[in-house]
Each structure stands twice: as structure tokens, then as C-alpha cells.
Symmetry: C2
């Protein structure tokens, strides 16, 4: 009988099975040739003893941790949590664990977090839209596989997975202009945020492409939170003349704006069209259902892991990958092909079978 209450090691298994630790190791790792009978015996003993290899010892010699590090600006909200969900699934499928850390906005915090993760991970996924890619890479241990999420261009030699912020924003604003809106306002994200800048650029180009003018007073800065969207919308309501449409650079701010409009008695979309960006899952359930630019949020996470796993095998060349977005028109911008008032009939809906039959997807 072997000692209990004490960690049992490969030696215990070897002794109990009547073989050497080398052979046990070969069985457990499927490395090297082992006679079938031997394998059976060792496996039996190992499972009977509930043997579990010591992770530290193993990674000390293999120099692998089977862990991926994830650094995000925040862990909270429908966006980030959906990214993490994607990462989690893909990582598990690949047999990797996830070491996560949030709240990394400035360079020092990032460096501290990376430093702390050093030696604990085989690769890193970093999203930090406020920092230049080069600056992130600079503070990193050489040779550590890395994939950046939503980072600036001009980062040759760095792997990254990105969302088509510019194209998505441009398409949405074009859509709003096409509905006849002359004064489309934008609630942007922080100026030091790359995603925010790109979405703003898309807005500008869309307006100018239509021969319109970008009025500076229609550009309000938020910070991607509901409360900032709420505040920004109030500001826009004070303008004279008022805008007739608001494009928020993300859904959270759009929802904050909807809340402010409702408080002010402004009816959406009749008196004011509203649109967001990201198409977070809740977007279709707010009132009125929010038009948005669909972003494959979970796919962003999944893809990041896939790319990282490839980078770890060193086979791939570093590239910048851009995931396409898709316009999703719901009621909030009044551009649906189905008259919004028809939605008062739940019956009509049931017949069509879908949740939001009036939802229209453009390319």
C-alpha cells in the first residue's frame, strides 16, 4: 500500500508497476516504443493511483506551459466578454489554458502585466487600442509569440487580427445619408483609441464622399460607455439646428443615447435616427431595436487563438488580418424595409416565424 495524503509521483507509479520511470514516462507521453502489455499495466496503475503529472516539473524541462495569456483593456461588458468567450473556446479546443488580465490601458500597466506573465504563457494575445503596436512589442520578451487585436497599421512583422472599423462606419453613415439625413452626428470614442479614430475616419469620408460637410459641432467625444453616450446625446439635443441622426461609435454609447433621447421625449427613429457599432447581442432587444454594424466579436477571439497557435509553430509569416463587418438595419434608424409601426402586431411576427423579421442585412 502506498502512502496517502501525499503527492504521488511518477516514481510511485514506476515502483508499483514494476518498471522504471523512463518507461512510465514513455507510456504517459506516447513517446518511444513500449510493449502493449507494459503499457496496459502502467496505465492501470497510474489511473488506480490517480496519478497526475506535476505540471511545474514537466514545464521546467519541456519549456512549455500550454497556456495562453490574454491582456485586454477591460474584462467587462458585452464586447470584451464575447471576445473572451471566443478565445476560451478556441483555446480549449487547442488544449490550452487561459491566463487573463484586464484593465491595461497605459504602457506601464501593459508592461507590468506582460512581465508578470513571463514564463507562465506560451503566447500572448493583446488588445490595447490606445497603444502603438511597436510600443507594445518593444516591451516584450523576444521570441514570445504574439497576436495583437485591433491595432494600428504600419506594424509589419507583427501578427494581428482586426475589425474593419473604417469600412463599417463608412457604410453605416452612407446608409444614414441615403435615408435623407442631412445632419448626421457622431458620438465618437476617445481620441487616443485606434478603433474610435478609424470609425471617425469612416464617418468623415462617408460624409465628404456624398459632397456633404463635416460640421465640427456634430462631432462629440465619448468613451464607449453608456453614460458617455447618454451625456453626448444630451449635448447634441441642445444644438440648433439639431442633427436628425446619431451614429454612435459603439452600441453601448448608442444605448446610452437612446436613453437620453427617450428622457427628452424625442421619438426614435421618427424624430431622430440612431445607429451603433459592434452589434452586441443585446442590440436587437433594446427599444427600439438598434441598427448597428455587425462585428464578428467572438470570431475575433477565435481567430486570434488560431493565429497564435500557428505563430507558435513558427510556420506562418506575420500578417495583418482584417475581419469584415456587416450592416444590420433595425428600427432605430428608420431605414428598415418593413414599416416600424407594423411591429405593434405580435401576431404578424409570429407568422413570419422570426424574431425580428424586419431586420435587414446589407452585404
Amino acid at each position: 500500500m502506498l502512502r496517502r495524503l501525499v503527492t504521488i509521483t511518477i516514481k510511485d507509479v514506476a515502483r508499483e508497476a514494476g518498471f522504471s520511470v523512463a518507461t512510465v514516462s514513455r507510456v504517459l507521453n506516447n513517446s518511444g516504443p513500449v510493449r502493449d502489455e507494459t503499457r496496459r499495466r502502467i496505465e492501470e496503475v497510474a489511473s488506480r493511483l490517480r496519478y497526475a503529472p506535476n505540471v511545474a516539473a514537466r514545464s521546467l524541462i519541456t519549456r512549455k506551459t500550454l497556456t495562453i495569456g490574454v491582456l485586454l483593456p477591460d474584462l467587462y461588458g458585452e464586447f470584451f466578454s464575447e471576445v473572451i468567450r471566443g478565445i476560451d473556446r478556441a483555446a480549449r479546443i487547442g488544449g490550452y489554458h487561459l491566463l487573463v488580465s484586464g484593465s491595461h490601458n497605459d504602457r506601464e500597466e501593459i508592461e507590468a502585466a506582460v512581465h508578470a506573465m513571463h514564463g507562465r504563457v506560451d503566447g500572448l494575445i493583446v488588445m490595447s487600442p490606445g497603444l502603438e503596436p511597436r510600443s507594445i512589442v518593444a516591451g516584450l520578451p523576444r521570441r514570445l509569440p504574439l497576436v495583437l487585436l485591433n491595432c494600428e497599421e504600419g506594424s509589419n512583422g507583427i501578427d494581428s487580427v482586426n475589425v474593419d472599423n473604417y469600412g463599417g462606419a463608412r457604410e453605416m453613415v452612407q446608409h444614414l445619408l441615403g435615408l435623407g439625413h442631412q445632419r448626421v452626428a457622431i458620438i465618437g470614442g476617445a481620441a487616443d483609441n485606434y478603433d474610435a479614430r478609424e470609425r471617425l475616419r469612416g464617418y468623415r469620408d462617408a460624409v465628404e464622399a456624398e459632397g456633404g460637410t463635416v460640421y465640427e459641432e456634430l462631432l462629440v467625444e465619448g468613451d464607449f460607455t453608456e453614460s458617455s453616450g447618454h451625456k453626448a446625446a444630451r449635448k447634441l439635443l441642445g444644438l440648433d439646428p439639431r442633427p436628425t441622426a446619431i451614429f454612435a461609435a459603439n452600441d453601448s454609447m448608442a444605448i446610452g443615447a437612446l436613453s437620453a433621447l427617450r428622457e427628452a421625449g424625442v421619438v426614435v427613429p421618427e424624430q431622430m435616427a440612431v445607429a451603433g457599432f459592434d452589434d452586441i447581442p443585446i442590440a436587437r432587444y433594446v427599444s427600439p431595436p438598434l441598427s448597428s454594424v455587425h462585428v464578428p466579436i467572438r470570431g475575433l477571439g477565435v481567430r486570434a487563438v488560431e493565429r497564435l497557435l500557428l505563430a507558435m509553430t513558427d510556420l506562418m509569416e506575420k500578417t495583418r488580418e482584417v475581419l469584415p463587418t456587416r450592416l444590420v438595419v433595425r428600427e432605430s434608424c428608420g431605414g428598415s424595409t418593413v414599416d416600424a409601426r407594423k411591429t405593434a402586431s405580435a401576431e404578424a411576427r409570429r407568422i413570419e416565424g422570426a424574431h425580428n423579421p424586419e431586420e435587414v442585412v446589407k452585404t
Copy 2:
């Protein structure tokens, strides 16, 4: 000059500084006595060489990983992500890393995840409202510090941090009844979910305490998602007589219900009162702002970590801790002290300075 591009170890530091590895180790860990001059020299060399101790080697001998494992049913959504945020902050303050994993609903998945984390973490935080505490503990390595989140009672000898599901639900339903509603419906969570069962129990007791009857047709089961809330609300709308109030067992379902009501042309709260549970951050921004039972979500995570860290020092006795909830009355249930129609004036709001001055908190 020392070799580059190769891991540098404590030996390198020792050689370069002219001391033994033992002394270097003492300096780096502040263990044992070291002469000031020696310490300075070694620290200088270590930082010049950018020496970083090998995590695996260290934890092989110390038998510590400085990592906390977190197992959740899901990583997605305002609730779970807020819990994680709390855990992340508290863990970082305590100097711990976070190994997370989502999608663990049945016993096998939990056991597999725990097994995989074995040896990688110093302690575990597990939320699995669908499993009995004993069953979770059974599949766990002995001696591994553990804190359960929102688990059933009757788990003596197990640490847990919980939300007062019963009390919160009861209070909310009492409030609705107090507003004069005779037929209050509930959109519950899945029957195998502990939180859901407790909230349902609170509902039942509140109704019966008021001498009312619990009508079975007013009990509709959801699964905590917006879409299930949407579906459930449609079902309730088909009833005759209709309920006049809907209590959803969480905010996501309440939001789904609001969406269904709006589609059906039912005005909230005039024609139907709606209330949720959790008070996720977005609750105050939906239309109309959602009454809810405030749960200290982030605090749940923070507290779990605090308790786990204590459990790891083995000083505390195992207890079941219950965090109090708080009723938050907003417009969706019509029970606000401020007439909802006043909210049409954004100006009035600005004067009061607060976002939602009509928000009322009861105890």
C-alpha cells in the same frame, strides 16, 4: 559579456555578480541575511541582465503557482463579466494570476476542467448553480482551497459566497403587489438552476404572504437569456386575463420581455409593469429604465477572492456567506416616486444633476 538570446538563469547572475546562487536567491526573495553592499550589487546585475526567475522551477520547489483558477458556467454577458472583473482586481491586488474557463454546466465538464487545472492553481473559485456543492467537491483534489459562488445550502464545511436570491425576489414581488398588482407573473430561470429556484421561491412566498394565490399559468420558465425572456413574455401576453406585472428572474430576460412588449404595442409601465434581477449596469439605460434587484456583482467576485486567499492560509473556518441585495425602483414598474412622464424634460434632469434622479432605492 554573457550569452544573449538564451535564457539567463540565476547562475548567470551569480557568476556575473561574483557571488553564489544561494546569495542571489536570498536577495531576490528577501530571505536570510545579506550585506547591504552585496544586495545592491546583485540587484544591479540582475536588472542589468534582465533576469527573470523561471516560474516553473520556482513553483516546482515552493509548490505554489500564485494562480487562482476560475470556473464559470459562461464567460459572457454583463453578469459573468462583471464577476470576473471583480475577481481580476482582487486577485491582482493579492498578487495572483487568473486562470479562467467557461462553459461548465454539467458535472463532467466541471471535473474535466478541474482536472486540467490541477497543479496549475493554488485555489479555485467555482460557480455552478446547476450542481450540488457536494458533488463539485467530490471530484476535487483534497486540500485544494475552494470557494463556491451561489451554491445551494446544506454545504457545511465548504466556503461559499452567495447572493440573497430569495430575499431579493421576495422584496421585489412584495413591492409589485404593494403597487396594487393582482396578477404578477414570473419569468423564471431553468428549474435545475439554484439561483432560479431561490428567486422563484421568493416569488411564491411573497405572493402567499399577501394572501394571494400562485397561479401556475403565470409561472413561465426561461433560461436567463434575452431571447427566452422575449419568448416568455409573448406567452404571457396570450393569457386571459393577462398579468399586469412581470417579474423576470434576471435582467437579461426582463430586457427580452420589454422588447416583446414593445413589439406587441403594450406600454410599460402603464399597461404592464416589468422588473428584473441583478441590476446589471445596462439596466438603467434600457427603455424604460428597468427596476431591478441590485446585486453587488463585482463584490461577489472580490469577496470570493478574499475568502479564497484566507482559505489558502488555512486560518478561517468554512462558512457560507450571503451578500444582501437592494431594491432599485426605476420606471419600468411604475412604482417610482417621481412621475415617469416628467422625465420628458431633459432640462429638469440637468438641474438635479443626476442621471436618473427618479431612481429610488429601498433599503
